[in-house]
Amino acid sequence: MARVESEPQIAAHTTWMRRARETRIALGRWPVLPLAILAILVAVAAFGPLLAPYDPTTGDLGSRLAHPFTPGYLLGTDHAGRDILSRLIYGARISLIVAMVSVTIGFFVGTAIGVVSGYFGGVVDEFLMRVVDIWYSLPFLMVALVVVLILGQSFNVLLALLAVLAWAPAVRVVRGQTLQLKEMDFVALARIAGASPVRLMFRHLFPGVLNSAVVIATLQVGHLIVAEATLSFLGAGIPPPTPSWGVMVSEGRDYIATAWWVAFFPGAAIFLVVVAFNFLGDWLRDKLDPRLRQL
């Protein structure tokens, strides 16, 4: 009897499983953990002043280099007695804004140049591709240091530099795809229907390359966060005492013999955020444009 009773249960169980599996296939597997990390990051960046227990730039000199888990200082303090957790929270804002703004600029500029280059071809294409080659052959950090020397160390200069770093990879991919797309019938038909080159590029080619451009942009965010941190680390990014994660690592470098946590936590924060963005980018790539797998 017991066996008979259990049968509907099994059936119910299997239909539930099947339904769950169907939804899962339809949605694909969402990158839950990366999305959670990024959601926390965005929340922290948005509500930073409410969450941070201390002011990020004024320290308590009585409690310099306090260990993590010291009462009152969860992640310890740095050489000036500033709370590391508070500085991390304010730093999240900097990292996120810098990466997002520069990736957006890079995305639009890179996509536009890529489409123009691929669409017109010939001399225009040759010229733009040489510019990209030249850009790749220059040592970025050296150029960035010189630019900072000229224009001064500021937030806007940093944004501009990173935007310049972000555009080149997009150009190559978008151009390649435009070359393929423009041979297709729908482009020829649009041209016959009297579409101007601008309309062709904007209404017909741009949507075709959009997926790849979005994937490239997402995969770029991680690089940009690291680049921002590297420039700040070398003293050419965010001017101190603004809490940028790169500056924090740089300050912690002087105290590694006694206080490892000063350099450890900001680096770990960069690592977590970059991993999250990379996973998100990989997932988007598989969903939107699996051809880019090689990258």
């Binding site: 052959s137 150029v143 020397l149 590297t230 470098r253 350099a263 680096g267 960069i270 991993v275």
Partner: protein, 312 residues
């Protein structure tokens, strides 16, 4: 093949000119190099001295003339004199370059030694713990900022364990001093190389001739190392040439972190902050030339190995 080579060489020349023009213009825009000779806002310098300085540095001529005379002298091997150190730029660069090159080479060896075997292992044991482990290390490794990796290695092996020195290059060739910087430098490329080797190896293992080798009863070891590995190695090795070029860019951060007596930190980093433009230009030229040379060799190697690429 000949057309391909000529075209490539032409690109290299155009890129070189473009890159030097860009750098030259940037240093022109930077603060007046004459200020370097002036102790605090013009004190202790007369107008005559100032004018003489202008003539000596060639700043009285148009920028375009300055560029071409610099380019002409540079092609003859004369890179001018450093402003802050009063020594020929070539001499400064050459004295520091060895340390950078040795570090880059050590980093390359580490990247190849870690990246290629783990890539092969991940491909051969596809879908197992090894594959999963290798790929996670690659994904996580690529997300760590190099300067932080360097500092954490210093903390672990220098401070906590006390096994390895944390700064400098030591006397002569001291392997101990190379381990941490080389590992920091090679870590990121190792992850990239591992991914590349894995995908290349997977493709080869799926090919007909590997199946045939297996079908005729060859040992797994022979199939993997003698038949598949040799062909799968082409993409990772050619791209590791580009990695080598990338190393020279990456050395700036590593040299900075480990106080390495190399060209990037001791010549260029300080060159930027003192606006020592002859030194800066000379250094950038060396970096650009090395990058272009490696890129050219990688391209030709690719074209040589895979003739389909030449005609694109």
């Amino acid at each position: 093949m000949r057309r391909f080579l000529v075209r490539r060489l032409l690109f290299v020349i155009i890129t070189f000119i473009g890159a030097t023009v860009a750098m030259f213009s940037l240093t022109q825009l930077a603060t007046d190099p004459r200020v370097l000779f002036v102790p605090r806002q013009g004190w202790g310098i007369t107008q005559e001295q100032w004018d003489a300085l202008t003539v000596r540095l060639g700043l009285d001529r148009p920028v375009v003339v300055q560029y071409f005379s610099w380019l002409g002298r540079m092609l003859k091997g004369d890179m001018g004199e450093s402003l802050s150190q009063q020594q020929p730029v070539r001499q400064i660069l050459m004295s520091k370059f060895g340390a950078t090159l040795r570090l880059a080479l050590a980093g390359w060896i580490i990247a190849v030694l870690i990246g290629i075997p783990t890539g092969v292992l991940a491909a051969v044991r596809r879908g197992t713990v090894w594959d999963y482990l290798g790929r996670s290390i690659a994904v996580f490794g690529q997300a760590m900022p190099p300067f932080w990796v360097g500092i954490m290695l210093m903390v672990l092996f220098g401070v906590v364990l006390g096994w390895l020195p944390t700064t400098g290059a030591g006397r002569g060739i001291s392997i101990k001093h190379y381990i941490l910087p080389a590992f920091t430098l090679g870590w990121y490329p190792a992850a990239a190389l591992m991914r590349l080797t894995r995908s290349s190896m997977l493709e080869i293992l799926d090919s007909e001739y590997v199946k045939f080798a297996r079908a005729k009863g060859m040992g797994e070891w022979t199939v993997i190392w003698k038949h598949a590995f040799k062909n799968a190695l082409i993409p990772p090795l050619t791209s590791s040439l580009l990695l080598m070029a990338g190393f020279l860019h990456g050395t700036l951060v590593v040299e900075y972190v480990f106080a390495w007596p190399g060209v990037a930190r001791q010549a260029l980093y300080y060159g930027v902050f003192t606006n020592d433009f002859p030194l800066l230009l000379g250094g950038v030229v060396v970096f650009v030339v090395i990058f272009l040379a490696f890129a050219l060799v990688a391209d030709i190697a690719y074209g040589f190995v895979d003739p389909r690429i030449r005609y694109q």
